[in-house]
Symmetry: C2
Subunit: 688 residues, 2 copies
């Protein structure tokens, strides 16, 4: 593979002998401590993945004692190096190192590996264990997160660095065979290569083993050539236990700042284990007490006591961490100097890092009036983005090659590119999954509110990172347009049906489907204010009728998830009509017709099920009075509405795929019509 | 890029001048007919993508007049070449050619492009337009389908060819920049390269244009190097209008049968259009009447009349198609000879192609008894697969690197590999998305029932192909194991919550979550009998209590989606307890406790919402009697249950992410317990 490698330490070959596992130098003790803690913790939990931490221990040792800039006492230091264990199943590698370097993670915590509410869950969880930068486990996601963090670093550096480089950290990741095989690795690596993210350094743990056996069963890629094709700087290290070779490769990677680096390290799963070395068995099961004894013997480990770490090894790790932490002190001085020279900029940075929005940002949110006419919600969203662009420099994003269709371009703002990392318009390429995982990394880094756009149908391509944004409670904004059969002629492959329900089912997400331009502005207000989780804005391709708020309920109700738009004129409503988005105009029209026919109907706009569910019962009862029958209508699968409509109401939706035809025809053919609403409501009211 | 190319026709370079668009040879007329039909149809529909068909017309001309083996009169001929337009937005390319070659698609059909129920929807739809082999549009899927078709061809050839090669067709695809950027292209191309699928030939339409502008905005891959790294044979053709060069590349690709081939053809979007050539504008909008006039002039087209095709051009296309169709005649003779010599084999093949299962296949389905003890449904599924493996040679599949965890290996059956295409155990690699799209291709090919397995959580990685299997009504079986918090210590990143509801929301899919080994056997019976759509089997990691069917309802009820497992002893039930999968044991236990406490309860096993919804109302009412309050419990997001429980019942589920801990602890902490059921039911019954 050497022809693909910028700087190769030695030709890669399976034939290269690994060093004998035994050793009693201080270095061996330090490295073997990671192996021992990992296998002991997995054994105690009777569950987990010991083999990879054992294999990667030398790499972790080098990174945390010599290369990473971090401070265990301040895991939030903004210019720390970011480390992402994309191979999240190797969590004990990370936990071991976090303990050894002195993060707030004790030996007792390691002993509680994989137990209820312990600080050491099966896979690393962000905001839960100090020193864990992102939640990993679903393969490929961590690589994308790392790319996003490197994007964020590049942007923050380009924006805030002056004479002093207050942002200049590296982002590191370790990827497994699984990460490398997943499609999202293609999307994020291609994106990173294109952007020439020189401060991104990844390791590919090339251990030749997957769960089903040798990787040769299913994998023949020349990964070095593949990443070279993406524009990465690629090196091969034939033996991870050859510390000098690994060290040299890391130095090379740090020196190469014009391209991302991948270091392919040949490792041996279960290293040290006499019987499980290089076997799939070592991947996902405890080694067993007997094998652990033999392994400790083979490693020349000084004690058989579970979780034993030699005091001199612990001291070495802690001293090394203290030395690494000095970087923060030096940086602190640099930062003070920078702040002294750039007071306004510093105030701005500190605001962004706190996650505060500018005091008067809401004044910039546009107010839509009758003069604006009928506006598609995607277009209204574009107007809001542009109105806020100057006010909110932390807002940055783009689309998966649908800028003009999703109306997500900030006009007059430069594009983020390898020539201009200060740019804020992103061109994610036709890479929805990568976009999602990169946005997570950007949001995790701090200082940035990322948004990403595609058609709602393609939210299916990016569900894994949407789920992780929800789980990590990160502020990521999705702009999903072309949200129903209303997109028309592109047909069933592009018409979302089940996507709305499928998104609403994700715990922690907030989905908002505004009914007109005014609700769209309010949806953006919610999305930008909502710091602790992702918000999906679901927007139309087609124009929406302007709702005159002097006659109808205020769009401010959007923030409460549902509100009364129009009420029965004389007395309590006999029926409640509920809807979201483009179908709200149908319930308004139906309400009028029903009133004319003597049926007292209330029209409720319900742009967000999640926001409504978060209101107190009293408010909910005022919007949806108990005992009044309800009808919902949405041009989507009905599943998510049954909870709100109840069994004595009627849920109108679409339980089939769409069709290729002009939109108006589709609404008629698929029964999303005023007539059907009127007919259904009349029946319901009559029965009452 | 020449160093990556096996046989290069000329060095690729953007500087190469394209030929002048004008031309009046018969060849020009034939090629320009495709361009004209495409731009006219898009113009008439006022919607669509004219630019790519115009660019690719020369390639289509060469393929359909000189290379593809097909018969417009018999689009189902089993040994026809398969052609997949992965760039589905260029549908007018395909429709134009299908018309020109004489498929059952008229000029009037082309004029109805993108209209309600026309045969020419916005994107190609399988089983709707003759000659369309798969539904495409969502980018990257078609490439995966093509890989699956090539897999199927290789397998059918290895299984059925004798002295006569009755299977030896090629599979062709055309991919766009978008296909190539999508992650699924990495998964399927890596898989195809590993398998050395030499009869797979793809074209990468390298037009340098995406919706946002020049591909250079976001894309710097050396795609030739990338595909070479996957083990593909790669060629560059610098100008698609250089027919000799394209022809030579195709000949090379056909001759290279030990590797899949990719031909990178530099094309020019909107070719022929004076003002829209090479612009993003030509991609997704009609050219406009004026520009069409100018384009026809520039092309030297003999008429400005919309949809005009010169009679001599149409004759040339039809004659060429007739000549290509002779291949079927020759094949017919070959087949007759083969059949004469291999009567038993022929009967078997014809059975498989008809989609019939062997008459006595169901006798092989195992019956589980108390002696089998408590069995995880994944384990029961593995037993069923193995019991059926010999009986159903068309059943083939595997997992995304989780064979032992998902119990999907057929013991004693060879693996499908480049050394043995007759193998039936698949090693899909850590490529869930690719697995899904490859399975679709296998199912589309005919003769095969594919299954693919992964953890339920990773169904999120493959929703696009699941959706397409549903839309195309193809028999694809998903084996999704580790189906809830019951997987325990791997934690929230691996514990499905919203996945069940999200799958159930897909129109046309059948999701079955069996409660014990017996229901698992019945679920497989349903899955194998269900020819017109995908079935997802949702299975546990943990053991499930054996349900003694002599005391409880028969597992045969599985096929009806829901059935009474245990009924109130004295009189009508006061409350109905409903559940699926691992939580059915909870309702059985609760039912006993309630009976003991004097509450008459019915326990309903509801393994499949979709199957139950397909029953008549009468049956549904016998299972869920009207007026009796219902409680459902499932260790998953509750969304999909509200429809069945109604607003006067109670839905017990999980609306948060899981946690890393032993499974038993999780069920208790998250409230999926018998106690909660008993308490809730007692209240409900009391209120009544």
């Amino acid at each position: 593979m050497s022809d693909h490698s910028g700087t190769v330490t030695a030709p890669g070959s399976d034939a290269v002998k690994t060093q004998s596992p035994g050793g009693s130098s201080l270095e061996d003790l330090c490295i073997n401590a990671v192996r021992v803690l990992s296998m002991d913790a997995v054994q105690k939990a009777d569950s987990g993945h010991p083999g990879t931490p054992m294999a990667l221990a030398p790499l972790a040792y080098l990174l945390w004692t010599r290369h990473l800039r971090y401070n265990p006492a301040d895991p939030q230091w903004v210019n720390r190096d970011r480390f992402v264990l994309s191979a999240g199943h190797a969590s004990m590698l990370l936990y071991s190192v976090l303990y050894l370097t002195g993060y707030d993670l004790s030996l007792d915590d390691l002993k509680q590996f994989r137990q209820w509410e312990s600080k050491t869950p099966g896979h690393p969880e962000y905001d839960y264990t100090p020193g864990v930068e992102t939640t990993t486990g679903p393969l490929g996601q961590g690589m994308g997160n790392a790319v996003g963090m490197a994007v964020a670093e590049a942007h923050m550096a380009a924006t805030f660095n002056r004479e002093q480089k207050i942002f200049d950290h590296f982002t590191w990741f370790i990827a497994s065979d699984g990460d490398i095989m997943e499609g999202v690795s293609h999307e994020s690596a291609s994106f990173a290569g294109h952007l020439k993210l020189g401060r991104l350094i990844g390791f590919y743990d090339d251990n030749h083993i997957t769960i089903e056996g040798d990787t040769a069963l299913t994998f023949s890629d020349d990964s070095a050539a593949r990443f070279t094709a993406y524009g990465w700087h690629v090196q091969n290290v034939p033996d991870i236990n050859d510390l000098d070779a690994v060290e040299k490769a890391i130095e090379n990677a740090k020196a190469e700042t014009s391209r991302p680096s991948l270091i392919i390290v040949r490792s041996h799963i279960g290293y040290g284990s006499p019987h499980k070395l290089d076997t799939a068995e070592a991947h996902g099961s405890p080694l067993g007490a007997e094998e652990i004894t033999l392994t400790k013997e083979a490693l020349g480990y000084p004690s058989q006591e579970p979780f034993y770490v030699a005091p001199e090894a612990l001291k070495y790790w802690r001293d090394a961490a203290a030395a690494r932490a000095k970087a923060q002190k030096d940086w602190g001085k640099l930062y003070a100097k920078w702040k002294g020279a750039n007071a306004g900029l510093a105030a701005e940075l500190e605001r962004r890092l706190r996650g505060d929005l500018p005091a008067d940002w809401e004044a910039a949110i546009p107010v839509f009036t009758a003069k604006d006419g009928n506006v598609a919600s995607r277009a209204a969203s574009g107007i809001v983005i542009n109105a806020l662009a100057a006010k909110l420099p932390e807002l940055m994003g783009g689309s998966a090659d649908l800028a003009s269709s999703t109306n997500t371009l900030m006009k007059g703002v430069p594009s983020f590119s390898s020539e201009d990392y200060a740019g804020r318009n992103f061109h994610f390429g036709i890479r929805e999954h990568g976009m999602g995982s990169v946005m997570n990394g950007m949001a995790l880094h701090g200082g940035i509110i990322p948004y990403g756009a595609t058609f709602l149908i393609f939210s299916d391509y990016m569900r894994p990172p949407i789920r992780l944004a929800s789980f990590m409670k990160r502020q990521v904004i999705y702009v999903f347009t072309h949200d129903s059969i209303g997109l028309g002629e592109d047909g069933p492959t592009h018409q979302p049906i089940e996507q709305l329900s499928a998104l609403r089912a994700i715990p922690g997400i907030t989905v908002i489907r505004p009914a007109d331009a005014s609700e769209t502005a309010e949806a953006w207000r919610v999305a930008l204010s909502h710091r602790d989780g992702p918000v999906a804005l679901v927007l139309t391709r087609q124009k929406l009728s302007f709702v005159d708020r002097s006659q109808y309920g205020s769009a401010g109700g959007t923030a409460r998830g549902a509100y009364v738009l129009a009420d029965a004129k004389d007395g309590d409503p006999q029926v409640v009509l509920m809807s979201s988005g483009s179908e709200v105009s149908l319930i308004l029209e139906a309400q009028k017709k029903l009133e004319a026919a003597g049926v007292r109907a209330r029209a409720v706009s319900m742009p967000s099920h999640e926001l409504f569910a978060r209101q107190d019962e009293e408010y909910r009862d005022t919007v949806l009075p108990r005992g009044v029958r309800r009808i919902s209508i949405e041009a989507a699968h009905p599943m998510s509405w049954y909870q709100w409509v109840g069994s004595d109401g009627v849920v109108l939706g679409i339980e089939r795929f769409g069709s290729s035809a002009p939109a108006a025809r589709l609404f008629t053919e698929l029964g999303i019509t005023v007539d059907r609403l009127v007919e259904t409501a009349t029946k319901l009211a009559g029965k009452k």
